[in-house]
């Protein structure tokens, strides 16, 4: 399988890791005060990737659906939580909205990709299911978090206008649709940008990996095309879902804008800063 792939020793990896000193030097020379964060980020990169390497090695070898599915669920949950941590304002239930929208959209689209397009066998084949879900989750989480962030910030900034629209007799959807549209647009733009430059400016990691592993570039490109559309579909679906869930939390059926539910994210941020 890895006919064309050089095996990397830990020494080889360590040499690459020394390149972090470039960033460290930049930080010191320009007084960016990033050395500690840089060291922490570098350590996390190494530890997290080594750990997932061992976990995946074990999961691939063990190859049982009751191991693969919980791992996928855990990945989804982490993506959902990460997707809810952006933005200056939040509301009760935002994390659940993020998890639900990411879960449904990513799993639905991954199912289409794995069962209809790639037709994996067995149905839980981990070397397909896990990386493909992972790529979908990473991008969906970006869309969802940007969408929710834009929705809450637009509603905060346009609070008076939304309220005025309702006072004039707008339904809750008529009053919310401007901010909701902007939010969905904000969530979908990163994927659109990515699709516009893929292959020209960026060679996606998965494609690069397949080529390095000796796969024919033409096959690798086909996989990448499939992945791009899976990502686009899932992040679009997830963003719309998250924005609609936020809308339902922030507007009542009595056509009221529940602006008091939008709270600043200070308490948790303070707690985090205190640590």
């Amino acid at each position: 399988m890895n006919a064309g792939l050089q095996n990397l020793s830990l020494v080889d990896v360590a040499i690459a890791a020394l390149l972090v000193l470039v960033n460290g030097a930049i930080s010191v020379v320009l007084k960016l005060d990033l050395e500690r964060r840089l060291a922490w980020a570098a350590a996390r990169t190494v530890v997290q990737l080594l750990a997932i390497g061992y976990v995946l090695g074990w999961v691939f070898a063990y190859d049982r659906w009751y191991v693969v599915l919980p791992l996928m669920a855990l990945m989804t949950l982490i993506a959902g939580v990460a997707g809810s941590q952006r933005g200056a304002r939040t509301y009760a239930g935002q994390r659940a909205d993020s998890i639900v929208s990411i879960w449904i959209s990513a799993w639905l689209v991954a199912a289409v990709g794995l069962f209809v397009v790639i037709r994996i066998r067995p149905w839980y084949a981990p070397q397909y299911a896990i990386p493909i879900l992972g790529m979908i989750l990473g991008n969906t989480l970006t869309g969802v978090s940007l969408g929710i962030e834009r929705m809450t910030s637009e509603l905060t900034a346009r609070r008076d206008r939304v309220d005025t629209a309702l006072a004039l007799g707008a339904t809750r959807w008529e009053a919310a649709q401007g901010p909701a549209r902007d939010a969905v647009r904000a969530g979908m733009i990163p994927t659109l940008n990515q699709m516009a430059v893929v292959g020209v400016v960026s060679l996606p990691g998965m494609m690069t990996g397949q080529v390095l592993a000796g796969q024919s570039p033409l096959q690798a490109v086909r996989y990448q095309i499939v992945i791009m559309f899976l990502i686009a579909a899932s992040s679009g679906l997830g963003t719309v879902g998250a924005v609609l869930l936020a809308y339902r939390h922030l507007f009542s059926a009595e056509h009221r804008f529940l602006a008091s539910r939008l709270i600043e994210r200070t308490p948790r941020a303070k707690r985090r800063a205190a640590r």
Partner: protein
């Protein structure tokens, strides 16, 4: 839902009736509005005064069903307002906020906006009428083309008022609409409201929240005061309060 309000035979049904409406600040556990009854009959002009933070705006927003109530309900012509009818109710009972919130775009875009809403499906924008209202407020023919973001506070409030008046509401709830305006704009606002009222005074009513006792006497035939969330009918016995800054 609720039966028509039991009234003496022959007595007219009030336009708006608030029954035991109450509001609480859930976060602070503070009472914003004690259970309050208020009936607003056709032909009535109510002036509502009281110190800042006493709950005047809270009551007005409750009457427009804009905030969730913690008790009581609001009847429109003797009937409870169901969820689906709330936008229609707000067409009849228009709420004007203290600081006008205008959309991006021109004055024209702003006065046209309501006609894009489902509740005004049966109504059509009448540019001549909007123009005439602006002229009454001393604004010339080019005013409709002005950019909303370039208007002064007084001009913006005139736009917000014309946007509402052209829709022929039955009740106007005015939440200190002139509190931070120059005297000329304030007079224009008062004149526009009074003209609208006089055109069909038997069928219309206003509640005007004001900090200014002199204005309260000008715009109201029935004087109410609010103190710490308690509403009382008060003959306006010169309880002259210093004119406070906007809430």
């Amino acid at each position: 839902m609720t039966e028509p309000r039991s009234a003496a035979p022959g007595a007219p049904v009030p336009l708006v009736a608030a029954q035991r409406v109450a509001r609480r600040d859930a976060a602070r556990g503070q009472i914003l509005l004690q259970p309050t009854d208020l009936t607003l009959d056709a032909g009535e002009r109510v002036a509502l005064t009281g110190p800042s933070g006493s709950g005047k705006s809270v009551l007005l927003r409750a009457l427009a069903l804009l905030d969730p109530l913690d008790g009581g309900h609001v009847l429109w012509r003797g009937r409870a307002v169901t969820r689906a009818r709330i936008p229609g109710f707000r067409r009849h009972v228009a709420y004007l906020r203290q600081r006008a919130a205008l959309l991006d775009g021109s004055v024209d875009d702003n006065v046209r906006y309501p006609y894009s809403l489902a509740v005004y499906r049966d109504a059509a924008f009448d540019a001549g009428r909007a123009q005439a209202l602006f002229e009454r407020a001393g604004r010339g023919a080019d005013f409709l083309a002005r950019d909303a973001s370039e208007l002064s506070g007084g001009e913006a409030q005139i736009v917000a008022l014309v946007r509402v008046l052209q829709l022929d509401p039955d009740v106007l709830l005015l939440d200190e609409p002139t509190a931070s305006l120059d005297p000329e704009s304030a007079r224009a606002i008062e004149a526009l409201v009074s003209e609208w009222f006089e055109r069909d005074r038997a069928a219309r009513a206003t509640v005007w929240v004001s900090h200014d006792p002199a204005q309260a006497l000008r715009v109201g035939t029935r004087q109410l005061t609010m103190r710490a969330g308690v509403l009382s009918e008060a003959p306006h016995a010169g309880v002259a309060q210093p004119q406070e800054a906007a809430r």
